[in-house]
């Protein structure tokens, strides 16, 4: 079996604080993999360790391995830009560049990274990304308008389109619907199911129901430790660990 990503004995410290404690797991390709757990359990830190976003935090220290296609992204001679290009990332609060146009939000990455030769290629790439994010039909006549005119849900799909335009292998999502209303949230969830045909999606959520609805596999993280990992249908019908059971039943804390 070839894995989209393999995490081995991963540890993260912020200063003296041990945030992620010897976590190991593997994610198959083309699945939705959810990481769930209560606030402060280390979910977002784990996600940020997977694409070396933690490098930007001077207090963070990472040990262990994260492998994509067999390459340890923390190994020597690994180009961080290459690492980041393997991942698209979507955050809790939609963060398009508000003053740039809808078009420019998607086009900026490919332009800066030299992914396209000319304007018509760029146009095509922007259109494809917006179509894949199921936003095209809603914005095709407003491409030159600023991204700030879009609704929250549309802005989040624009962020997804922006990530897709860079042709990543893996999409990391950090509570992508936490700030959206239920209708906009459902749209994102539907979109995830479409996107897993072409990408591997790792989604962090503090909403176990969301993990139950959309994911194929789910990991339960508690106080920095990986408590349980398994097929979503198994974890939500007969969790094997009592802490997982308490968490999914809403009996934790």
């Amino acid at each position: 079996m070839s894995w989209a990503i393999e995490v081995q004995n991963l540890n993260v410290w912020y200063g003296d604080k041990h945030i992620i404690k010897n976590v190991s797991f593997r994610v198959p390709k083309n699945v939705i993999f959810a990481i769930m757990g209560p606030s402060g359990c280390g979910k977002s830190t784990l996600l940020r360790a997977m694409n070396r976003l933690l490098d930007l935090n001077p207090h963070a220290r990472v040990e262990g391995q994260v492998k994509i296609n067999g390459v340890n992204i923390y190994g020597d001679n690994v180009d961080v830009t290459w690492v980041r290009r393997q991942f698209g990332m979507v955050f809790q609060i939609p963060n398009p560049f508000p003053h740039l146009s809808i078009y420019e939000n998607v086009a900026l990455g490919p332009k800066l990274n030299g992914l396209v030769k000319d304007k018509s290629q760029l146009d095509e790439l922007v259109k494809q990304a917006l179509q894949k994010a199921y936003l095209w039909d809603e914005v095709k006549n407003d491409l030159r308008k600023p991204a700030s005119m879009l609704s929250g849900g549309q802005q989040q799909r624009l962020c997804i389109a922006r990530a897709l335009a860079l042709k990543p292998r893996i999409i990391l999502m950090d509570e992508p619907t936490a700030n959206l209303d239920p209708v906009a949230s459902s749209k994102i969830e539907e979109l995830l199911l479409e996107l897993k045909e072409d990408y591997t999606i790792i989604i962090v959520t503090h909403n176990p129901q969301q993990a139950a609805r959309v994911s194929d596999y789910v990991a339960f993280l508690y106080m920095g430790e990986l408590i349980e990992i398994g097929e979503t249908s198994t974890v939500f019908t007969r969790p094997s660990n009592i802490l997982t059971e308490k968490y999914v039943l809403g009996r934790m804390g």
């Binding site: 939500f236 019908t237 007969r238 969790p239 039943l249 809403g250 009996r251």
Partner: protein, 210 residues
Amino acid sequence: MSLKRPIDYGLEKLNGMINDMIDLAGKTLEISIESILTRTDNVEEVRKLSDQLIFMMDETSELAVQLIARFQPVASDLREIKSAIQISYDFSRIGRYAANIAEIARMIPEEGCDFTSVRELSRIVLEMVREAGKAYLNKDLKKADELRSMDDQVDKLYAESMKHLIQMGGKINTACLLSIALILRYLERIADHACYIADATSYMITGRKY
């Protein structure tokens, strides 16, 4: 002491309804067996109790569906609800078979029927129905296991008694023979449903199929 979750109020109500069904099913079966052994006509009463059990089954599954719709239960909550639906159905079937048994009292001749095998089998089956209820209420995995071995005992006794009846063919009153055969058959079915209740109980506790 932690706060109750909203779903807990519903689960308690569901449990209370199953509890009532356990009592009623035991009572229904007891009266129907009594009517055979004492040759009294209790058909109307047993039918009424059986109808009541069916009504309670409908109420139970209605509440179960409401809980699923409102709380999207998972893990042990979900298994408890699934088991409640199954168990309430089993108790309603037990009620129906009890009514069938009571109805047979009307075709039994005044004299000459030997109900030893019925007496023996009904004693075990009635105990199984009561114990199945207890296993569910107390989430008792061991008792659920015991019920499965009691069912083996019932099957064995049933097979022996039927063999004996066939040998007696022509030697005893046909109405007697048919009555006893039917009652034994219904009792054997009731024991099966007690066993299904044990299976649903074990599933509820462990999440494994039995």
